[in-house]
């Protein structure tokens, strides 16, 4: 590959990285796993003057739960770290379902969840998962840290609210209210393909009643779609075939797919509904068992 000429820096701390970002005045790019940035540079869609490689910054590779159940994913936690974590399914079922469906094994060993969120590709799987989970991103800039809800984070295809001198340091999933269940389904034409349609569903329930619900949609709009409206229909109710059906229909309506070589608009809508139904129907017995 023959990218345009660039400078390279490998800071040892978050502070140093933020300072370098500030000095570059918007002409630098953070390099995490490089699985989105490097292909863009190869095609010269991206020609940053400087790469700020954060891989040498210690203490960012974590993914773990706080005592209260808040879940944190550090900026250098790789897709594969999540995929291989056997405890993830019980704590973060939607994430656990998505992790093995991201890209292919080679990409998963380097790519990061936070990098995926920052890349803000409407076909990125993690953004829908995070929006279904009500997650947020913590960014550090010259004036300290701020937390941005995933739903507000993305502003368009490959666009987000990060300032040029901010580094995303972690993604955060709030503690569940009750028990958490969920799933992720993705229609891909082959392994490593981006989603034709991806659906992330997360529900939390107490007793048999849904206390919180979220749905995120991948690949069916100009950016990740949070189908919150559809999901909230379930709150306060017991899950049943009827409301599953209604949620599925509403989620399909909220989606904004376009016809392309991956499928027609009508088909993609149909797939959103089918996947919402399939995930929720699979969760149905779990919610009933608790009672």
């Amino acid at each position: 590959m023959y990218p345009a000429r660039f400078d390279y820096a490998a800071p040892q701390s978050i502070e140093e990285a933020v300072e370098l970002l500030g000095r570059a005045n918007g002409e630098a790019k953070v390099l995490a796993g490089g699985q989105s940035l490097v292909p863009m540079m190869k095609l010269r869609f991206a020609s940053p003057e400087m790469l700020i490689d954060i891989n040498n910054i210690p203490g960012l590779a974590y993914h773990s739960a706080d005592p209260d159940g808040t879940y944190r994913i550090g900026a250098l936690c790789r897709h594969v770290d999540l995929e291989k974590d056997e405890n993830l399914a019980s704590q973060q079922p939607t994430m656990a379902a998505a992790a093995p469906l991201i890209a292919d094994p080679i990409v998963r060993t380097r790519g990061t969840l936070v990098g995926s969120l920052c890349h803000s590709d409407p076909q990125g799987d993690w953004a829908s998962v995070m929006s279904a989970l009500g997650g947020s991103i913590v960014a550090q800039g010259p004036n300290g840290r701020r937390s941005i809800s995933c739903i507000d984070f993305v502003t368009g295809p490959f666009q987000n609210v990060l300032e040029f001198d901010e580094l995303a340091v972690e993604a955060v999933v709030p503690a569940p209210v009750g028990t958490r269940a969920g799933g992720y389904l993705k229609l891909e034409r082959r392994v490593g393909d981006f989603a034709t349609v991806g659906v992330a569903v997360s529900i939390e329930f107490s007793g048999t009643q849904v206390t919180r619900a979220g749905i995120g949609l991948t690949g069916v709009g100009a950016s990740t779609i949070c189908a919150g409206e559809a999901a909230t229909m379930l709150v306060g109710q017991d899950l049943n075939a009827d409301n599953i059906d209604r949620v599925a229909v509403l989620a399909a309506e909220i989606s904004q797919p376009r016809s392309d070589h991956r499928g027609s608009e009508a088909y993609k809508r149909h797939m959103v509904a089918t996947f919402v139904t399939r995930i929720l129907s699979k969760l149905l017995p779990t919610t009933q068992k608790v009672a």
Binding site: Y2, R5, R189, S264, T274
Partner: protein, 792 residues
């Protein structure tokens, strides 16, 4: 005493591929691995537009970049009469565009610089002013009234037609149709795909000022054809041109044509008197080099109520892109399309073909297709399936009923080929048995009751492989024979060279096995070399599954010449006359006392140390082989699938392949070829697609859009074999490299359509993406034509 042929790596030995030793250890030697002193790097600027007039090209900013040595445009080439070059099918192709660009990705300018980064930077600094023109992306648009004429560079070209061609008996076919009980019809599109070899195209041109000799290291499947073409285009004397095709990272027909990059790198080296390397990137390879298919086929089949096929009519509209640059066996404009229906006993048929220009990359016959056989057999097997459904006849039964019988050979096909051998029904029976046909039909019925959709698809075909024979086949007038040269050294070790060019087929292994079979020299004692025109005998290269049928036969023949001489030497050594000795593998012996004999190695030694009076010393020879006919392998592919009625996603349950490619030299290599072919058949049926939007933008210019299946989704294959030796090949072998790619796709498509039986759907065009299957299933109509392209 007798040598075990398999032990010495002869015929039938599952010998490990000797070339893999270096390939799997990263020690291959590809064009891009070669570095010459003082070498410069070339990069191509490609057109972003599919059809546009070039108003101006400003290269001043590019020239000003430090490290840039030369910027070449069409204008510069035109001044040397090199802006256009001949193609391998009597058309012309722009080397660098002068007047217009005619497809997205067309070569517009080249930069030669000290390193590839600088060359790429400089390409970006070239300013081209384009005036966009209306774009044509399919044959319908190409033939529409008032369509812009793409090839306005050609005198007498007043439309977008490349050729009109026909073959067969029109009147006879019409009569047969008039007498038919039933007429079945089918119309389909075989979409464009790209062979996408792992190694892209590239070259290093090295013009030596001291000797005036031009050496070109390049990715070519046919080095000798290239030498001839370079002699013609560059007007250099042929003996001062040396083409070297080193290790090739796959070819699949993609590396047969002559590409602008080769030509410009040669010119640049001559102008700069330094070596110039050009290595294409993946996108460049996908958007500008030889593709496969992209053809619309329609036809009718005349049938008797009992399933007997009476006649076939076919028409094809092929999309050749902006230049007719296929390598074509020149008598047949649409390649070997008329080999369709060769395995069936059909009295009469008629085919018309029209080729058109469009604003797309040129090509059409790459990708394991053997000159359009892929499309012919796909249409054939889809048509037979549709006919079976129309008549309500079992799909295996209709094939059996119409097969040419084992004792009917030689058999004249409906379009005039002569098939010579086969056991078609036996292959089919083995396939049906292996897949558990009857059981599966029951299972399918049961599953239906539970709303599950299972399907089974069959594809059976014989195809003509091994172009050619020189009566009928030539490229640019050069007859399609091939050659081998064998030198046995004095210790009995040998070097073999042929005019073919391996690119993954394993010639280095297989050819040595043929020598072992003919001479009893262990295969490990024979080194095989191909690809250097200064050392290899003249040959037409490797494509169209022709190496074993033609070059492989030449290897046998040259070995036999060596054996004939060795026999004379043996008689001399044994002090008897030639008539008194017999041959067994590796050894001549006295008929009267078999324990007295001499080995082939002893004969070799004597050839250099103790030849009989009057005999020339040495033990080497060459052979040029002109096959009397094509070879006719047979393939039977059966696939079972399950379709998810809610998503249209289909999963392959089982794939069975029964191949009869005659005698198998190295069964392991044959199986590898078949598995690779089946993987590609699955890919093409399922996902692999190059398509274009209405502006002529290529959708499929990278591996995110152009999907190659991985080991993950590719199903497993169960392989079976039948051996019907080729009656005219010296060791009874037939071509096999393309069989499964040719015959496989219809098995997958037929299976999915079988699962949809009862919905009224007759056709879904490939690739059978889930949305297309779902639409057909839920709407109950065909989903045909080029797939929808990206909007906005």
């Amino acid at each position: 005493m007798t040598i075990d042929e398999v032990k010495i790596g002869g015929l039938g030995a599952r010998r490990s591929r000797v070339e893999d030793n270096r390939f799997i250890r990263g020690m291959g030697n590809y064009v891009d691995d070669i570095t010459l002193p003082g070498m410069l790097h070339m990069e191509i600027l490609r057109s972003p537009l599919a059809h546009a007039r070039i108003k101006s090209i400003d290269t001043s900013a590019a020239m000003a970049i430090p490290g840039v040595q030369l910027v070449l445009t069409g204008e510069l080439l035109a001044s040397r009469n090199l802006a256009w070059m001949p193609t391998l099918s009597y058309d012309t192709q722009a080397v660098l565009a002068t007047d217009k660009v005619r497809f997205q990705g067309q070569e517009v300018a080249c930069v030669v610089a000290d390193d590839p980064y600088i060359a790429k930077d400089a390409c970006e600094a070239i300013v081209v002013d384009y005036e966009a023109l209306p774009v044509i992306v399919n044959p319908t648009q190409a033939m529409a009234d008032g369509a812009p004429i793409i090839r306005d560079d050609k005198e007498n070209q007043h439309d977008n037609v490349v050729f009109d061609w026909e073959v067969g008996d029109k009147d006879g076919t019409d009569r047969a149709f008039a007498a038919a009980d039933v007429v079945s019809e089918l119309e389909l599109h075989y979409p464009r795909s790209h062979p996408s070899p792992i190694e892209t195209c590239g070259s290093i041109a090295d013009f030596d000022r001291a000797t005036s000799k031009l050496t070109v290291y390049m990715t070519t499947q046919a080095p000798h054809i290239i030498r001839a073409a370079v002699a013609m285009v560059a007007e250099l004397p042929e003996h001062m041109i040396r083409i070297v095709s080193p290790d090739l990272g796959g070819g699949f027909g993609n590396k047969v044509p002559i590409y602008p990059g080769y030509v410009v790198s040669i010119l640049a080296s001559i102008l700069l008197e330094r070596p110039v390397k050009w290595i294409e990137d993946k996108t460049g390879n996908l958007i500008s080099t030889g593709f496969g298919r992209d053809i619309y086929l329609r036809g009718q089949m005349a049938l008797r109520n009992d399933g007997k096929i009476l006649a076939v009519r076919m028409h094809t509209d092929s999309d050749h892109g902006a230049f007719f640059s296929d390598a074509q066996p020149s008598k047949f404009k649409i390649g070997l399309m008329h080999s369709a229906f060769a395995c069936y006993d059909i009295p009469v048929a008629h085919l018309t073909a029209r080729g058109v220009y469009t604003n797309k990359a040129p090509g059409g016959v790459a990708y394991r297709c053997s000159f359009r056989i892929t499309e012919a057999m796909f249409f054939q097997e889809r048509m037979v399936q549709v006919a079976a459904d129309d008549l309500g006849i079992d799909q295996a039964e209709i094939r059996r009923l119409n097969f040419v019988q084992d004792d009917d050979f030689p058999h004249r096909t409906p379009f005039g080929f002569l098939t010579d051998s086969g056991q078609y029904a036996k292959c089919l029976d083995i396939g049906l048995e292996a897949i558990g046909y009857e059981d599966f039909l029951k299972q399918k019925e049961e599953a239906r009751k539970n709303g599950r959709l299972l399907g089974i698809g069959i594809s059976t075909m014989t195809e003509p492989l091994g172009a050619g024979n020189s009566r009928e086949y030539d490229i640019l007038g050069i007859k399609m024979f091939d050659s081998a040269e064998l030198r046995v050294h004095m210790t009995g070790k040998a070097i073999l060279r042929t005019g073919a060019k391996t690119q993954g087929q394993g010639h280095e292994t297989t050819w040595a096995q043929i020598v072992a079979h003919e001479l009893g020299i262990p295969a490990d004692d024979v080194v095989v070399e191909e690809g250097d025109t200064d050392t290899a005998p003249f040959g037409m290269g490797t494509y169209a599954s022709r190496s074993t049928p033609v070059a492989g036969a030449a290897v046998s023949m040259v070995s036999r010449k060596i054996r004939a001489k060795a026999r004379k030497i043996a008689a001399h050594l044994l002090e008897v006359s030639e008539e008194d000795i017999e041959w067994e593998l590796g050894r001549f012996y006295l008929r009267s006392s078999p324990e007295s004999g001499v080995t082939i190695q002893e004969c070799a030694t004597a050839a250099y140390s103790n030849v009989p009076d009057g005999m020339e010393p040495g033990l080497e020879n060459n052979a040029y082989y002109d096959p009397p006919n094509l070879t006719w392998p047979f393939g039977c592919y059966i696939t079972t699938v399950e379709v998810d009625p809610l998503t249209g996603v289909w999963d392959v349950l089982n794939v069975v392949a029964v191949d009869d490619c005659g005698v198998r030299i190295n069964p392991m290599i044959v199986e590898g070829q078949i598995m690779g072919g089946l993987a590609e058949a699955y890919a093409i049926a399922n996902m692999q697609l190059i398509t274009f939007d209405s502006e002529g933008n290529c959708v499929g210019s990278n591996y995110m859009d152009y999907l190659l299946p991985t080991a993950w989704e590719t199903p497993g294959f169960e392989l079976h074999e039948v051996v019907t030796p080729c009656p005219h090949h010296p060791i009874g072998a037939k071509g096999v490299g393309e069989c499964a790619t040719v015959g496989g796709p219809a098995a997958f498509v037929n299976a999915v359509l079988d699962a949809l039986k009862g919905t009224g759907v007759r056709n879904i065009d490939m690739p059978l993406l889930p949305d297309r299957v779902y639409e057909a299933l839920t709407e109950g109509h065909d989903v045909s034509g080029a797939p929808p392209t990206r909007t906005g």
